[in-house]
């Protein structure tokens, strides 16, 4: 009996807090059959919200992937002044509230902000439009690729790279043929985490987007908007689609997770 106590506690807690609520969303969505679900899904506002989310993800993920790999290489393979600081700042978005991030961008690019007047004069619309939303999304998902790449690079050592260089390979060749193949799975795992974060971003985007329905509303904002306007089917529908994406992400995460972590 005592042998099973931890197992019962652990599984009970997981069920109560994670699995049962998730199952409930599924049930709630199809409460009144499939047709309201389909109706809510193909609604113009919903489709547009998913398009906006997709656009932001497509912008943020490649940028952060390149940035993550470059920063990872810089931190592990090179010495330069301010390296410790860079290392610390990479982690900052993980600890910072998304609301604080959103507000910071809001103050920087708003009409009275540092860059605000310059932008207004040149007719560039940052705030309440996709550029600021993209910046917010990039900000919150900066650390993931770098965080995965750094330990892998450390573990790897640079013997193979040095061997390649002594055999006459250029820096780019060394990177392409030696480094990249060995950190491949760490990058993939980081990209998956980045994607999940971009799709799910709420707080920062909520502030800089101005939440204009049908224009700057993302899928996550749509969930809140629909729920607060008593359109619970709409909220649950968008929620379920996002949850389904999350499950796919989870499966890919499990499959690509660096081995030492699955142990």
């Amino acid at each position: 009996m005592r042998r099973y106590a931890p197992r019962v506690v652990a599984l009970g807690y997981l069920t109560g807090i994670l699995l049962a609520p998730l199952a409930m969303v599924f049930w709630r969505t199809f409460d009144h059959g499939v047709s309201p679900f389909w109706h809510a899904l193909t609604n113009g506002e919903t489709l547009h919200a998913f398009q906006v989310t997709l656009l932001l993800t497509v912008i943020a993920v490649p940028l952060n992937t390149v940035f993550g790999v470059v920063v990872g290489l810089a931190i592990v393979r090179h010495r330069f002044p301010g390296k410790g600081l860079l290392n610390a700042f990479i982690d900052l978005p993980l600890a910072l509230s998304p609301v604080v991030v959103g507000l910071a961008l809001f103050l920087l690019y708003g009409r009275t902000g540092w860059f605000g007047s310059w932008l207004t004069r040149h007719g560039v619309q940052m705030l309440f439009a996709w550029p600021a939303m993209a910046l917010a999304t990039i900000f919150v998902s900066v650390p993931f690729v770098a965080r995965e790449v750094i330990p892998t690079l450390r573990e790897l050592g640079d013997e193979q790279e040095q061997a390649a260089v002594t055999l006459g390979a250029s820096a780019w060749q060394t990177f392409r043929r030696i480094t990249l193949p060995s950190i491949r799975w760490a990058v993939v795992y980081g990209v998956v985490l980045t994607t999940a974060r971009c799709l799910g971003e709420f707080g920062a985007v909520a502030i800089v987007s101005g939440r204009i329905v049908g224009r700057t509303e993302t899928a996550t904002l749509r969930v809140q908007d629909a729920y607060e306007n008593f359109d619970s089917t709409g909220a649950y529908t968008v929620g379920l689609v996002l949850a389904a994406i999350a499950v796919v992400v989870l499966v890919v995460m499990t499959l690509t997770k660096p081995k030492e972590q699955t142990a």
Binding site: P6, L11, V25, L92, A104, L108, G200, V223, G239, T254
Partner: protein, 244 residues
């Protein structure tokens, strides 16, 4: 460019109207209530996570049952799921139309529940590898010398996994203090009662008071920095035997 500059602008804005305004906003009753609630809820959640996270990690490492791999994968779900959906799922089960007759919506319990959901993986994922590496010989030696299971856990296992638990707790605190997506739907955001700091900041911005929002945001920023430092310090302590 992306990380540092916006934060500089934030600190600047909070100071623009002078330290007096800053103090006035931060010490206004509504801001204080929100801050107290945020820190209190984060502390409760950290405690719950330390307890349940350790039990879950223990079960994942030491126990064996069918479907364990699946359970192990499910732990990461809160990382993959958008936080607003996390709030929505909890609302579906523990909200106004709860099928199990538990309605916690718009209460402080709801906030704790939502934060527990989104921070679930932290302690599990920091304790799990430590527990996995732990040499069982020590425990067996203790047992053969007549120690009870409880004593073995308290005297042998716990001291070893404590750094893991603490760094998980620090991550939990950092996340819980800043969380908004999971909380915003289920808490009802009633000022003085269920309004957390991040929601307070959001409301201030929406009503055009960006100086007030910046003041509270700077407080949150300082808390985040402190927790980051704590995490860094813990990491230093945990890896000291590797460096030696």
């Amino acid at each position: 460019m992306i990380v540092v500059l916006p934060i500089a602008a934030l600190v600047w804005e909070s100071k623009r109207d002078g330290a007096h305004t800053f103090r006035q906003v931060v010490s206004s009753p509504e801001a204080v209530a929100a801050l107290k609630l945020t820190l209190g809820a984060a502390a409760v959640v950290a405690l719950l996570n330390a307890l349940f996270g350790t039990v879950i990690a223990w079960v994942l490492v030491r126990d064996d049952f069918r479907g364990k791999t699946l359970v192990n994968a499910v732990i990461d779900l809160p990382f993959a799921l958008p936080t607003i959906v996390a709030g929505l799922t909890l609302l579906a089960l523990y909200g106004p139309q709860s099928p199990v007759g538990l309605n916690v919506a718009f209460t402080r319990t709801a906030i704790v529940l939502a934060l527990c959901f989104v921070t679930l993986p932290f302690v599990v994922r920091t304790v799990q590898p430590v527990l996995h590496e732990l040499d069982r010989e020590m425990e067996e030696a203790a047992r053969s010398l007549g120690a009870s299971e409880l004593v073995v856990f308290a005297r042998i296992v716990l001291p070893n996994i404590l750094p893991g638990i603490l760094s998980g707790v620090a991550l939990t605190l950092a996340r819980a203090v800043g969380e908004i997506g999971a909380v915003v739907l289920i808490s009802g955001n009633l000022p003085y009662k269920t309004e957390v700091s991040s929601v307070f900041v959001m409301n201030r911005i929406e009503s055009g008071d960006s100086a007030g929002a910046a003041a509270v945001a700077v407080v949150l920023l300082v808390v985040s920095f402190a927790l980051l430092l704590a995490i860094g310090g813990l990491r230093f302590l945990v890896t000291r035997h590797e460096r030696a």
